[in-house]
Symmetry: none
Subunit: 402 residues, 2 copies
Amino acid sequence: MEPKLLTDLLIPATTKIVFIIMDGVGGIQMEGKGGTELQVARKPNLDQLAEISSCGLLDPVSPGITPGSGPSHFALFGYDPFQFNIGRGILEATGIDFPLTEKDVVARVNFATIDQDGKVTDRRAGRISNETNARVCRKLKESLRLNREVEVIVEPVKEHRAILVLRGEGLRGEVEDTDPEQEGVPPLEPKASIPEARGTADLVRDFVTQSRKILADESKANMVLLRGFAKYSRYPTMKERYGLNSLAIASYPMYRGISRLVGMTVLASVSSLEEEFKALAAHFADYDFFFLHIKQTDSRGEDGNFDGKVAVIEEVDRFLPQVRVLRPDVLVVTGDHATPAKMRSHSWHPFPVLLHSPYCLIDPVKKFDEVNCIGGLLGKMPSVQLMPLVLAHAGRLGKFGA
Amino acid sequence: MEPKLLTDLLIPATTKIVFIIMDGVGGIQMEGKGGTELQVARKPNLDQLAEISSCGLLDPVSPGITPGSGPSHFALFGYDPFQFNIGRGILEATGIDFPLTEKDVVARVNFATIDQDGKVTDRRAGRISNETNARVCRKLKESLRLNREVEVIVEPVKEHRAILVLRGEGLRGEVEDTDPEQEGVPPLEPKASIPEARGTADLVRDFVTQSRKILADESKANMVLLRGFAKYSRYPTMKERYGLNSLAIASYPMYRGISRLVGMTVLASVSSLEEEFKALAAHFADYDFFFLHIKQTDSRGEDGNFDGKVAVIEEVDRFLPQVRVLRPDVLVVTGDHATPAKMRSHSWHPFPVLLHSPYCLIDPVKKFDEVNCIGGLLGKMPSVQLMPLVLAHAGRLGKFGA
């Protein structure tokens, strides 16, 4: 469904939509555990909801493709993840609420340690403290002198991570990573991946050379590694595309950043599941669309902590009645991708989705897990196809054709 | 998923992938038999494997479309069957290991019998012997005199089949078949299907006219029927697209030819199922990807021999433990299309697939057949989507996006 076509079909409504997104909720069976994380979790509220919902499986991007957090969330919000494949630098920048402009090329910076031969000995500079990070960024800011009409901004994010922003006319994002993604080798040379980006690559080379000199007396953070170059461009907002006033409730910066990119209002700070669910109730009158993001399922999966991930799912299950009582017109519970504890990483596997509304067609699925949801009405579909279904169930889409 | 994008995501790995392809394995229920060929076959090893795999159904090209062997195999290897729709002539040429160049237009030749009125009385010239075929090809070669700077090659294949290769600058493949595909009518005139191919069509007309004169004294092979004109162009290889060193184990020339087109190493000659499975074990250390092709399922289907096809499936089932013991990282068992014995021909029906790996999400399917695999995790998908999933399960694809 073309976004333009969808926008043309929009009709005014006051209905409310809630997305409960358990990051990396999908899993695979793990030996000795008796199933996937969702199969093993005791989750009476989720299962009871599945029983009166339309269920299915989502392919985050395309079968076999393991997505990063950017593409997987963009797809959930109905934005084509191939068209809107944002760079890591932009994700980081939005995560710290850095105000990007359309003149900016952004990259993620890792402060790193190199030895006297210039080889990387620690890609994360021993995870320097936030204070050291801020000090080193200030030092760069004070001493860097690039020879063009370009503003250079280095902003700390957290530990060894920062962002580099080059702001000026005619800059291009097509510059290759300098992070070699391994230790024992020197950083890569900044290279333009298309001829039009050569000027920008030269500028990056100059930045790297100067930074190395400026940081030479640092014991740990004596080098910068750059990756995920991209030019920022404004994205169409949820309001523009769907007519939705949207609120993001997320405890991790990156997800607040993604939400901001699509024009959501972002709740300042929530730090526990309990606070997130309370915030949903507190702001329920004020928005049309609510994105409640739960990071812990993904974190436990990345740690290979099967039981820990099960426990998070069970905790979310206990909060579910607090959402039901708000009586949203459409309630979606799903993930953004799978992070099987068995694999300790994001994966390509499809993961379950349930869509509940007074107008959903109820299917035979009675358990909210990967294996049972195969038999659901929604079938297996790319995540990007979810949003039109949600808008329809929310009474926000008119008829197509006469 | 764009092939370019997939290639960009490749990461180095030493994992091994095995495709067991039972040609035409899919079927439909046949009266008095109690099900489809796969439902009726006793195949304990395949069913046990299905029980610990992801299962589904493949649409060979697109719902309702019956494919030839070219598109159905290209799709299995992840090549878009519409983009890479190769001509029959090229298939035949690669099947006899004929070294094509990018100056070549190729067509399949059927030697045929015509009567004194020029009407076709036998489209296969009574299936002349290979010796007669070779003699007739030599005769053409010695006497043909075309009036342009174009080399003309006629190479015998088998029985009544040969290939015509026109080699020269500026030739085009857009020439229509001269084979009327029925008897009792004259051959069709060679016609260009686009204006740019008129020169080539004229050349073909000259070839046909001369061939008819040269062969006038033959009792059976006194005419040539041409079909499947196509210009040869080199295809991207499995190595280029997926980083895979691939081995094809196939007893039939056409499948060896298809494998060669996508850059596989082709095992010289194997003539029985037993030899094929032995060859897989013998070469297992030397390649990343193994295509083991079983022709007999299709042959029995084409013969309308339901029980014979069941017997081939059962025989393959008995060889399966010899594959399992090699412990490939990804094992796929499927077909290339359906050849229901009830229809005695290729068909458009979807057919089952199973994908086994330590990282597959296990679904509830416990029987490897058309009807049970509907309930599998992979759902029903076009064959061309299989390869990205296979690469993912083999740990050969990195993350998409930040």
